[in-house]
Amino acid sequence: MKNPDKNEGNGKLPNLMTDDMKKVLLESGIEVKSLYTKEDVEKSEADHNLPGEYPFTRGIHPLMYRKRPFTIRQYAGFASPEETNKRFKFLIENGQTGLNVAFDLPTQCGYDSDNPKAFGEVGRVGMAVDTLDDFEIAFDGIDLDKITVSLTINGAAIVLMAMYFALAEKRGFDIRTLRGTAQNDILKEFIGRGTWIFPVGTSVKLVVDTVEYCARNVPKYSPVSVCGYHIRESGANPVQEMAYAFSIAKAYTDETLKRGVDIDEFASRLSFNFDIYGNLFEQIAKFRGGRRLWAKIIREEYRAKNDRSSWMRMIAGGGGGGLTKEQPENNIIRSAYYALISALSGTQTMALCSYDEAYTIPTEKAAELSLRTMQILIHEMGICDTVDPLGGSYYVETLTDKFENKIRAEMKKVEAMGGIVAAITTGEIQDIISHQAYDREKRIQGGDIPKVGVNIFQREETPKSVEFHPYNAEATDFQVEKLRKMRKKRNSKKVNQCLNLLREDARNDKNLLPPVIEAVKEYATVGEIIQTLKDVYGEYEEPIFF
């Protein structure tokens, strides 16, 4: 293994970092020249578009951050809704402008806190939610008008979205004006992350139910945030990250159109969640080229008339796959670069991984550092002064063009597999990605992909204790006790009526968001609602690929 510190001892960098005659190949297979000039961009599309103008290569708004900086939305949530409420208030008091809610695994997988499968997992990686009561506690004292809330929930998304809408209604909001986002991208859960519940077809139906319902009833809410992020984390290269995400977004779009909803009634509310790690310019080109391609897809293939429909709105900044357990403080620096990349790419919303995320839920200190990283970028670095500062760069524009073409070509490959839904159902995509993840890991461990602190510039580290976010084991008892009390207090007859109606609607293939909203209003639990749907639809069986 290369170790310039130890082996060479003369401060000389390994040759891969200085020899500019060596072939430079980006992860996406693009070869990089040592110099780009005007000639490279003469054939490019770079000249004829402005920010805020189709196809939005330079950003979706004419003024971008000059008018308003990106939203800061750190991912947070743990233990009980009571404790999560405190962390939310801490973040808001420190200048965070949006919330991004983490749920514990039982909630994500559709189990109540007292289910045996939930044992030991309640409140561990996010906040536990059993009934609407928990939402009322978690968002107590938080102004849903001023702070937009993003729910990181997928398999059980229909239930948690229903709770959010029910909460808003109870607080007297007109849900026609309610803003916010749900992640609600189930197709990527089959590729990475793994919080699937139902078979693939049913899972897509449930997503489309929420898109259709929101288009008609909650038009300012973003019902889906399509995630290239987890696909990349699972082993995809940057081109595949975009191509698979766009293919997934198209799958939801096609199904929504079949419900008779016009493209301009929902496309503007679809958003994206992308990953950042790896080569700086490659990431920026990925977003600029991807934004242009998505605009073209929506206008040319789907005949959208409204420009907003073809906006690729995104959250980006985190890149867990780039962070390391070795010399964890280096992750603070990596994340600051990821934040810079995200801002130079015209993101709408930013969330960073905290430096300790490679081994724990962020401590309050780590979460604060992430927040400050973004604030320094906004307030000290001049990042908001002018729109798309890299626009016109020979290199960036050339890469942007190449990315657009490469993503398009990769999407064609997905079509050749029978489309993304088929390719996920058979496991073909999972198979491709898992092979790539192995290949990448081998190249890191073999030293081909340089990682500071891992395969170059290592330091002998004696294993030491690190500060952990503490797990509150009593949270389970507390949550289970609250759930028991709620089961006694609520009107069981009404709950059963609601669940029966839901079962009936599921059998008749109706849109299930309205009956789920009715059920959560009566304090039906996440587990009861999901079990009712499992009775009708069955559960997903994972194809095993490695």
């Binding site: 695994l105 990686v125 793994g194 724990t360 898992s434 890991e441 797990y471």
Partner: protein, 126 residues
Amino acid sequence: MKILLSKPGLDGHDVGVKVLAHALREAGFDIFYTGLRKSIEEIVNQAREVNADMIGLSILSGTHVIICQRMQEVLDEEGVTIPWLVGGNIPLEDLEMMEGCGATAIFPTGTKIDEVVTFLKEYQTV
């Protein structure tokens, strides 16, 4: 040597376990992977069915101590003596307790693939 790899509990992070599955297969081991969300009972039963010589558990959600305790209980109840390994996000403080539950070896995040392969090859020859 037959190794059954699994993901106990509700944790869905399977990149690591799949990377290890590829690596161990390439190193000549006979690998079974159960997929996500298996209970300890399911894992032990499947290990018996395929006649596994070793069980590998991958845990990144922080539930490793509880899972190790449960592993010990189930193996004792069923009278099964298959050795088992744990990999994942495991803090130093928990190693002793996990070994106390009977884990043969523990590989925290940051372990190199080669270390696991070497360990298993040596274990095989003992």
